[in-house]
Symmetry: C2
Subunit: 326 residues, 2 copies
């Protein structure tokens, strides 16, 4: 990729802080994946995605998103001077909509779930000939998100934790992290990859249910509303790949009760960190796995949770992927 394109597009994204959770949670490191120019980790992927689009001569890009990827793609498209159209589910937060519009993108609110927004975007691409700047299908996006793994390795003194807890909707962080850790291993820099503990909301858990059933493909699920809108993906296009990556890492996929999100968000705020519900769900997973008092009385029992509890006894890294102001 041309160095001049990268230099022109970058907003200095990445190198996010890593901090200890506190003395009550020995061995837990938080990586502040919301300390980004557009306030979410999606900037890691968006800058590479848009740079590749520019290099291939794109003039107009179309994206679909539950909000954060749409903001990131809109921001870098603006910086690149590309027209940008973003399709989102109509139900996403008003702030996420405002942010996408702020970058000058045109915003299309689609009735229905996240998959309906994707279908509308694909139809628009077919109709107009614009470039499909998909953070799910386009492999360049994961080439950006894999830097999460590289940074973690650097920040932990050229090492990796025993486990990494990741949100799992379309899996842009899970798959990016898996790829990054595999590359570190292939380069002889780490002996084994960390176990990935992938979390879904109990309200939309096609991967967690597949994991429980031993299916290699996401299963059809009934969806109910969740505040963790960033991972409410009923039919994840790369679902089989996510399940395979988690299995390869020795991890597990579990679902988190909706009722755990709010206490987890409060617990994080008391540690000085204000994050959006999707990020708080990931923290809820850690608190549940560690039997933390903040989630006392919230019951989860499954083979996956037994594995998650065992895996989180050692050193764990937890990314917090979106700001509370989102």
């Amino acid at each position: 990729m041309g160095d001049d394109i990268a230099a022109r597009l970058t907003l200095g994204e990445g190198h996010t802080p890593i901090v200890s959770a506190g003395s009550d949670l020995e061995g837990v490191a938080l990586k502040l994946e919301f300390v980004f120019p557009t306030l979410s980790f999606k900037d890691r992927g968006a800058v590479v995605l848009i740079a590749s689009a520019v290099e291939r001569g794109a003039r107009r890009v179309v994206a679909d998103s539950s909000g954060n990827a749409g903001s990131a793609i809109a921001a870098y498209a603006a910086r690149a001077g590309l027209e940008c159209q973003v399709f989102v589910p109509a139900a996403i937060s008003a702030r996420k909509r405002a942010q996408i519009l702020a970058y000058g993108a045109s915003l299309e609110c689609v009735a229905g779930d996240r998959t309906a927004a994707a279908e509308a975007a694909i139809a628009a691409v077919a109709r107009t000939g614009a470039t499909y700047a998909s953070h799910i299908y386009n492999p360049y996006f994961l080439q950006g998100t894999k830097t999460f793994a590289f940074e973690l390795w650097e920040q932990l003194g050229r090492g990796v934790p025993d486990a990494v807890i990741v949100p799992a909707g379309n899996g842009t962080l899970a798959l990016g992290a898996a790829r990054g850790f595999s590359e570190l291993q292939a380069a002889g820099l780490i002996e084994r990859v960390p176990a990935l503990i992938a979390l879904q909301s109990e309200c939309c858990a096609p991967l967690a249910q597949a994991w429980t059933m031993g299916s290699r493909e996401p299963v059809d699920v009934e969806v109910t509303p969740t505040s963790a809108e960033g991972i409410a993906i009923p039919r994840p296009a790369r679902g089989a790949q996510i399940l395979a990556a988690v299995a390869h890492s020795g991890g597990c996929v579990v679902s988190v009760p909706e009722v755990a999100i709010e206490p987890a968000q409060r617990d994080l705020a008391a540690r000085g960190l204000f994050v959006e519900p999707t990020a708080a769900l990931v923290w809820a997973g850690l608190l549940i796995a560690r039997h933390h008092p903040a989630v006392r009385g919230i019951a989860v029992e499954s083979e996956g949770w037994t594995v998650a509890r065992a895996l989180t006894r050692g050193n764990v890294a937890v990314p917090l992927c979106g700001s509370g102001l989102k």
Copy 2:
């Protein structure tokens, strides 16, 4: 300051990105001072302020703020396990109020301007014996904000620009930057300090009017509403110090027309950066000084602006201090 306190409190604040503005604005570097754990540069000062409070045995802190400093102090107070009470003008944005509350602080909305909020905070300190965590009077805050200057020097290859444009309300960045540049000069690392171009809103310009009149003290002004709420300070406590620092640097203080804020905010968004109005005002100042088409037709004429235009012909750094989601 105890290393253990710093290690426990830090959220990895600082080392914010620096990026070029674009090919239409040669020599202009943007420093993204909103890419912070609480989404504003105030984290630089808050972490040092709260660490010093902890070291001196504080249990409860009181602060007053137009929003961003209050959020930062509330976040680090939460992390330190201190009770925190924040006094704000009732008119600040709902998001800023929500953010302060999210960190578990108690929020007191005071009728009147920013000075009324400060007076209410000082009265509460006198009444309760809590520690006054003031980002204006407490010198530790500026010990934190001075790191802005050190980072700039590092990021520009051990050098400084000809001029730095800073917002000027209570002057926490202006005074911190001035101190940092002076320390670099005293250490023999730079030959001369950059000229500080301090910007106020035309709706609340006690320092800009003092500058024009040749007064060494801020003057009494009539205040009208401005969207740049972060610098709407009618009677800045350190006003004389700000005026002296600007004069010492060879810079100037000018006021920016309210009508320039929105075009500047749009211009920045087209560069991939979504910031709050106070930060957009600073960008408006640069655009006006550089005769940029985005602010064509917006008239400013004064001796200060003549100086600002001359100073910004060379290399200029512009901090963008608060996220657009604030």
